[in-house]
């Protein structure tokens, strides 16, 4: 019975296997990024980015019609422009990341809407651009896997300066110029993950599997590597359980995965080791020293 529910769907249907593979790849790449986003107070950047890429997708559409490759490439360019501009403004002025990103993404969205209206078609470009995890073809799987690999490698490279830059940016500026590079590289990574994630899996999943696992991890670990591990694990778990849920019921796959992640999050708020509500209400006896 359990076998039927948990294992059989994946053995029987290739689209389920592919969906699972995609979710694992997305978790490996997206969850660590999500932890940094959360720590840097950029949790809403996914939403902003989903709108910021519109002019790029619009230009891609103008040049090549409903060509997913052209629109994704355009989206990437627009996303980079917005993220990097926001990053540069944050570094050189008093404006914090959230405000500078907000201003640029709004401008970008308005530009995108204008381009689309001038062209005169009412196709919801963003709707076309956003994919579905049940429709993983070979090319999309490759893109998602490539993302994950690229992200893990680049994160490993910029890990140290990124961490220092997040906790004590002034110190880093005095000893190295790596801070700016690490910051902007991180933003570029965020864009790549988001845009490719949107195109492969839709906004809900791409952003959700970045941010929710990070929130979950916060309640179980006080330490960065622990957080990243727990985030990845809970993302994979949510993906697996969500797919099973979507298979057994009529709930669409993206929302099912996110609902599982949200349930895990609520569970963590209540019972987590670190500041869980229940732990706070019933603390363990305190130690002598």
């Amino acid at each position: 019975m359990i076998y039927d529910a948990l294992i059989a769907p994946f053995l029987e249907f290739e689209f389920m296997r592919r969906a699972l593979a995609a979710v694992v790849a997305l978790s490996l790449g997206g969850a660590p990024i999500g932890v940094f986003l959360m720590l840097r107070r950029m949790s809403l950047v996914g939403d902003a980015m989903a709108h910021a890429i519109l002019p790029g997708a619009a230009v891609g559409f103008l040049l090549s019609g409903l060509n997913l490759f052209a629109m994704t490439a355009g989206g990437l360019i627009a996303g980079f422009a917005v993220a990097l501009l926001a990053g540069v403004v944050t570094r050189n002025t008093d404006l914090k990341e959230d405000a500078s990103l907000a201003t640029f993404y709004l401008a970008s969205l308005a530009l995108g809407v204008t381009i689309v209206s001038v062209k005169g078609t009412n196709i919801d470009l963003l709707h076309v651009l956003f994919g579905n995890i049940l429709a993983m073809d070979d090319q999309t799987l490759l893109v998602v896997a490539f993302n994950a690999t690229l992200t893990l490698i680049v994160l490993a490279v910029i890990y140290r300066p990124l961490v220092i830059e997040s906790v004590d940016p002034l110190f880093l500026r005095t000893v190295s110029r790596a801070g700016a590079l690490a910051h902007l590289t991180f933003l570029a990574l965020v864009v790549v993950n988001l845009v490719n994630g949107f195109q492969a899996l839709g906004t809900l999943l791409a952003v959700g599997l970045m941010i929710l696992p990070a929130g979950i991890a916060r309640f179980w670990s006080r330490e960065l590597t622990g957080m990243i591990t727990i985030a990845v694990a809970s993302a994979i778990l949510s993906g697996y359980a969500g797919l099973v849920l979507s298979f057994q019921t009529r709930i669409p796959s993206g929302p099912a995965i996110i609902l599982v992640a949200a349930a895990l999050y609520v569970f963590s708020i209540l019972f987590g080791n670190v500041q869980g509500v229940v732990r706070q209400l019933f603390p363990a006896p305190h130690l002598e020293a």
């Binding site: 209206s117 429709a135 099912a256």
Partner: protein, 291 residues
């Protein structure tokens, strides 16, 4: 003497002016491209038709623009589908005001149901299209009585073409072997076509382009295609084509091509008129299902 001359002059001018007045074409607004095509065929050069949702647009989720407001305000007749297709229309009408009379082309047609709603795609059955044309003809006659004869003649000619088309489709379907008359399509827009001509359309998503399938829905379709040996899957112009390709890859069913359901293509495309659209669809279906 002066009086009489003056009176004759006025009479001459008004008689001379009457045809001039009658020649200004009737301003008609159609909600989307298929209806626009019908109006053009019935109205000929006696009407000036503008369409709100143009070629390649998505009439289910259209967002009106200010120029649409103007179009409606200036129009004498508004031609809409009804059956819940144009959910965005009531507010637009409120904004535009104007004195247009409205004709709902589906009046007199019993709707099929799709889930809990009416299925709006009644035009997919050519018999219903003939009803649409009849309703449009009557509305044009009422809005522009001087041209009534023109409209009736045009409509009669066009209805004959439609009747012939209906026969064409029946014959083409007749040539498909009985066991192969089923297809998979992303867009559940062919209910009326299926009911009239006997080809079964199985779809993973509901009526509009908004709904998202669950894994169970996809699994059921894959299982069904495999179990019933459904020969072909079809792409829709609107919707995620990758989903269809995934189902095709997993079941071995052929990807048939593109079917047009909610809109015509532009002049350079392969279905710029309704008749072209139906012909394209039936040709695509038969070639995918034939062997």
């Amino acid at each position: 003497m002066q009086c009489l001359r003056g009176f004759l002059l006025v009479l001459a001018v008004s008689l001379g002016g009457a045809p001039l007045h009658a020649q200004a074409p009737l301003k008609v607004v159609a909600s989307f491209s298929i209806l626009g095509d019908f109006v053009k065929n019935v109205g000929g050069d006696r009407v000036a038709v503008t369409t709100l949702v143009g070629p390649d647009g998505d009439v289910h989720v259209y967002t009106p623009t200010p120029s649409d407001v103007r179009k409606i305000a200036d129009a004498k007749l508004l031609v809409i589908n009804g059956f819940g297709l144009e959910g965005w229309l009531p507010r637009l009408l409120q904004a535009a005001g104007g004195k247009a009379s409205i004709v709902t082309v589906t009046s007199g047609i019993t709707p099929l149901r799709l889930g809990s709603n009416a299925d709006p795609h009644a035009w997919q059955s050519v018999a219903n299209a003939e009803k649409y044309v009849a309703n449009i003809r009557d509305a044009l006659v009422a809005a522009d009585p001087p041209d009534a004869d023109v409209f009736r003649q045009n409509a009669q000619a066009y209805l004959a073409k439609l009747a012939a088309l209906d026969g064409e489709v029946r014959q083409a379907v007749g040539q498909i072997p009985q066991g192969r008359r089923k297809v998979i399509s992303t867009h559940d827009a062919f209910g009326y076509f299926a009911a009239r001509y006997g080809i079964e359309f199985i779809a993973p998503i509901g009526v509009s382009t908004e709904a998202e399938p669950s894994a169970r829905d996809i699994a059921k379709i894959v299982a069904q295609v495999k179990a019933e040996h459904i020969p072909a899957v079809f792409l829709e112009r609107i919707g995620d084509p990758r989903l269809i390709q995934r189902i095709s890859a997993e079941t071995g069913a052929r990807v048939g091509g593109t079917l047009y359901s909610d809109s015509l293509s532009d002049e350079k495309g392969d279905s710029p008129t309704y008749i072209d659209m139906v012909r394209h669809n039936i040709r695509t279906l038969t070639s995918a299902l034939a062997n």
